[in-house]
Symmetry: C2
Subunit: 399 residues, 2 copies
């Protein structure tokens, strides 16, 4: 959808006009009351569910969560997936033409924030004739957008579902983003962000950025379980697991003694992920989106008080975190829960004992999906809902 | 000291002849029984203590620990600091001439392991006329060398002191090393490791490597305390701390909205550390030393059993870990303690409740220094010693 009216940005700048890519699933009911907006995280898009007719393997990035009969049931809800401004999957972004110069925006694309995205999304809802969302839903950076919706447009959100998210980035989160950005910006193929004109792509930097990202998405435990110290050549031999074969000492596969070639499986995995990412993701978008993460901090205008910041919310909330997520740990979700409770908001909170780290929010852990299914069923029927999960602590016990 | 005899390596290769840089502190006693060997970690050297007469600010990297009247008291002990083979601070390494080609070794320097370093160190002790060490001591990768000493030369080590270390790297540790190596190797100025001949230095890659390293050396807590979300320009204003001023909402310092310039203090800190490191550290050495870390795994030749691997030790042990060290967590030290106890070895273990993460082993936490002081006093007097620290769990309670 094209928007001709300029969008004012948090930075003070403006996007003169822009296009947003979106997909919808299910049917908007007569009262226009069953819309669910799904916000994406760093490298995802508007294609949240389903497959394209002519493209096998084209499942949406949250296809486990969203679809007919799934936890966010598209037989009941009208689900909207949207690609954010500045991204590289169809919405206006750095690869598009800057009307002021006639060339690609490149690094001159305006810095966009979570708040800017929410405002742009609100205009899409206006155009679709949707005044109030049954729910706004997102994981990680998507959860920040859901939280921001509840602040910027409190009357338009009945439920905000914030998964594996945080009220802001901490120093370590910013640090990882910064290393990734430096890898991209210092790649000689970046050309100050105007690499399109040079016919290059800063793939070295994108690879490093993605490798760093992947480490922070996975838990220590799941990395040890999936890869451990296994050598690349030793797949299936069982000779190089840290636990050994259990059948007494046997000669391990010899090391190759190389500093530049792949020796361990984990190296092979990371290189593959980096290579794949560098083929499709835009480097300027990576800078923009990590910066939007860095800047998000709703408490900032309230003297650092999240409680005061969240006083303007009116929605009901579901927060979900995962025990082994060290990027956005359960403590960060609990900060939000605590601030909402301080404001007497209705909050459900589930802390899922999952081994997969931050990535768990994209996976099909049955307890997680059950929590989401129960909550969205409650939204659909209007019933009061309380999330439950084996590891859910009593809300009263929160620090 | 120059060594003319070839050194056989774990890889099957050989270093034909080589020089090791070392320093000594204190006096070797008549029975040659008070020698303490100090092994260094990734980016340190033989200069472990004291200052050079003409160089203010040239304190050794472990000057809090080693010196007259310090925990490792050079009035009592003859301390030897040594720079490892392949490093870039005086011992033979990639910047030196490869006798086979007449050019710098560069990336062709043989891959060296912890075991190779220990063997090279043993030759230095031979040359100094020291048969038995009162103690071998190291933190992090240095601790791995201390552990390896107790395995390769059990009769020559009375005490092995292993601080903030691990019995091997886990998948996440290897992953971080690999990202750092890829940043270096893919820097166009690396030239396949032969950048000396091109008059270049892969500084971009070294910067990224160091930034990644620094993140893993610090705890989440200390990063939040030291940097938090403070803006670079907001130093001392108190306006941008996550906790706010506590005096009610006040307008925060505006963001600059930039993706490439420094916005947060943590970014400035990391860039500074990266820049500094890239000025003095050799890129090929970085590859070699991170690979030595990756390869260390004494249990590997024993079917993965650390208990069987440590059966050949004869030394007494002190293990020290730090609660907030997420690079080599206390659990990794406990693995070593457990395996030693399984072999009925004498082990002291102190788990120090310190906020500084992995870096704590280089800092002057008084409880940590007290543990070390007590242990080395016991070595000096021959008394039985048991380390104690407020957070030391009973050894029987180990998992």
């Amino acid at each position: 959808m094209h928007f001709a009216a300029p969008l004012p940005l948090q930075s003070g700048g403006t996007v003169r006009d822009y296009t947003l890519a979106y997909e919808t699933y299910g049917t908007l009911d007569a009262r226009r009351s069953n819309a669910v907006l799904v916000c994406h995280a760093l490298n995802a898009s508007h294609h949240v569910a389903g497959v394209y007719a002519d493209q096998p393997g084209s499942e949406g990035w949250w296809d486990t969560m969203i679809g007919p009969g799934k936890p966010v049931d598209t037989d009941r809800f009208f689900v909207i997936g949207i690609n954010n401004l500045g991204s590289c999957f169809g919405s206006t972004g750095p690869m598009d033409t800057n009307p002021a110069t006639g060339r690609a925006w490149g690094a001159d694309f305006p810095v966009v924030t979570v708040e800017d995205w929410v405002d742009a999304q609100a205009r899409l809802l206006d155009a679709l004739g949707i005044e109030t969302l049954a729910a706004v839903l997102g994981g990680s950076l998507g959860g920040m957008q859901a939280l921001s919706w509840s602040l910027r447009h409190p009357a338009r959100v009945r439920h905000a579902v914030v998964v594996a998210s945080a009220p802001n980035l901490n120093a370590e989160n910013i640090a990882f983003n910064e290393v990734a950005r430096r890898a991209i910006v210092t790649d000689p193929d970046f050309h100050g962000g105007h690499f399109y004109a040079h016919g290059t792509v800063p793939k070295r930097g994108l690879r490093i950025a993605r490798m760093i990202g992947h480490i922070t998405y996975l838990s220590d435990d799941v990395m040890n379980e999936k890869f451990g110290r296994e050598l690349r050549r030793a797949v299936g031999t069982g000779a190089d697991g840290a636990a050994g074969s259990g059948a007494g000492p046997s000669a391990p596969t010899p090391y190759r003694y190389t500093t530049q070639d792949v020796e361990f499986q984990i190296e092979s995995y990371l290189r593959y992920q980096g290579d794949k990412f560098s083929e499709y993701f835009d480097a300027n978008t990576y800078l923009l989106i990590t910066r939007a993460l860095d800047y998000f901090d709703p408490a900032r205008e309230h003297g650092g008080s999240l409680t005061r910041a969240l006083a303007r919310t009116a929605a009901k909330f579901l927060l979900v975190s995962f025990t082994t997520d060290w990027r956005f740990s359960p403590l960060r979700s609990r900060e939000i829960v605590r601030a909402l409770l301080d404001n007497q908001r209705t909050v459900s909170y589930a802390e899922i004992d999952a081994p997969h780290g931050h990535d768990a929010f994209l996976l099909d852990d049955p307890r997680y999906l059950d929590v989401m299914r129960a909550y969205f069923a409650g939204i659909a029927t209007g019933a009061a809902v309380t999330a439950t999960a084996p590891a859910t602590p009593a809300l009263e016990a929160l620090p």
